[in-house]
Subunit: 198 residues, 2 copies
DNA sequence: TTCGATGATGACACTCTGTGCTATCGTCAT
DNA sequence: ATGACGATAGCACAGAGTGTCATCATCGAA
């Protein structure tokens, strides 16, 4: 029979979660995590490139899903259609993610408690944005960067709003609300000289 | 007479810049920077909280400027007006920042060369977004978070486009283009079930 | 001038992260 | 058995960041 149940990676993640919850992220050392998992410090770093990563299991599933949806679209789809698809996928993903609000709230609280973790969280979202941007660029979309960035903003803000709200507004509703707010950016441009823009 | 010219902070920044340019960010040790500046490792950390920060001198000037512009507006200004002000200030700031393209290109190349520096760069922008969001929230704007996030996205993407482009498009033109691209987010929502949305 | 306070710097020790390298142990096919 | 192989332990090391104390220059007051 195997030494233990052998899911070293899972054991490490569980140990980390328990210790972080008890003492906070910074107070917990990698050695402590490894020992609680019955392993060695060195082994920890064979499963995770660094200490933060033990809290971010996912590969960029959302970004991949969005890229997939973009690639499926017909060649002549314009930006409006592509964005519509992006939003659809994001709403689906966001709804799934926020299904167990209590667990996500705890996780989010932990992440927000440490600058290191906040930075890593931003990096993950940046990766998602990069994935989306790449898919859009492949299709020749000239404004891929800003579109991808805003899409991820919608995901993030709706995610947080869904978790923070005591009300029962759905993720989709928060996305819709945020999209509406974007209209503020489309007003008549009152810059130095309003040249021509009927 | 003072030991040297005593601008310890400036000396450290210069030393760091020179060494980074010569050997890359990661290859340069804090000790090396300090010694080149005629100081000690320990002194370095008295001027900068960490190694990355030696490359990010600014206090959040842009965020403050935007917040200032927001606070000036009359009480009854709606989101469209506020966003207009935000854009105006961002365009001014962006134009100034991108005035010496060559220097900024070098700086940006260095930052992009290291994951640590990319993360820190994102953190700085997140700070700017937080400043703007706070100013908007103070005014009772319910969509402060998404508006602030998108505003910073405009700043960042236009900044990068301005630096990367060999053409002579201005920062303002890049912002305008990106704003136009945001219209894609305002299309009819074609989600699961189009319930009621005339 | 001398003294004492003050602020900046040096010097040292220490913890923790992250990494390379080697040895060891268990498992499995032959 | 035996040998190959994958996972883990064990060790050593560099570098980041921090706390603490000593030292030194400067400057105002007696």
């Amino acid at each position: 029979m195997p030494r233990w149940t052998n899911n070293a990676e899972k054991r490490l993640r569980n140990a980390a979660a328990e210790l972080f919850e008890a003492h906070g992220y910074e107070a917990v050392t990698v050695t402590a995590i490894a020992e609680r998992a019955g392993l060695t410090r060195r082994t920890f770093f064979r499963y995770f490139p660094d200490k933060r990563e033990v809290l971010f299991p996912q590969t960029d599933e959302i970004g991949e899903a969005v890229a997939q949806a973009i690639n499926i679209q017909p060649k002549d789809a314009d930006a409006g259609v592509l964005v519509g698809e992006i939003i659809t996928v994001l709403v689906r993903a966001g709804t799934v993610i926020t299904s167990d609000r209590q667990a996500q709230r705890k996780r989010q609280t932990l992440i927000q408690s440490s600058p290191e973790l906040r930075e890593r969280s931003r990096t993950k979202l940046a990766t998602t944005a990069a994935t989306i941007e790449s898919a859009l660029t492949t299709r020749g979309e000239p404004d891929a960067q800003i579109i991808a960035a805003v899409a991820v903003d919608l995901l993030r803000t709706a995610y947080q709003a869904t978790l923070e709200g005591d009300d029962n507004a759905s993720f989709a509703e928060h996305v819709k609300r945020a999209r509406t707010a974007l209209r503020s950016f489309d007003s008549y441009s009152r810059l130095p000289a309003p040249v021509s823009d009927p």
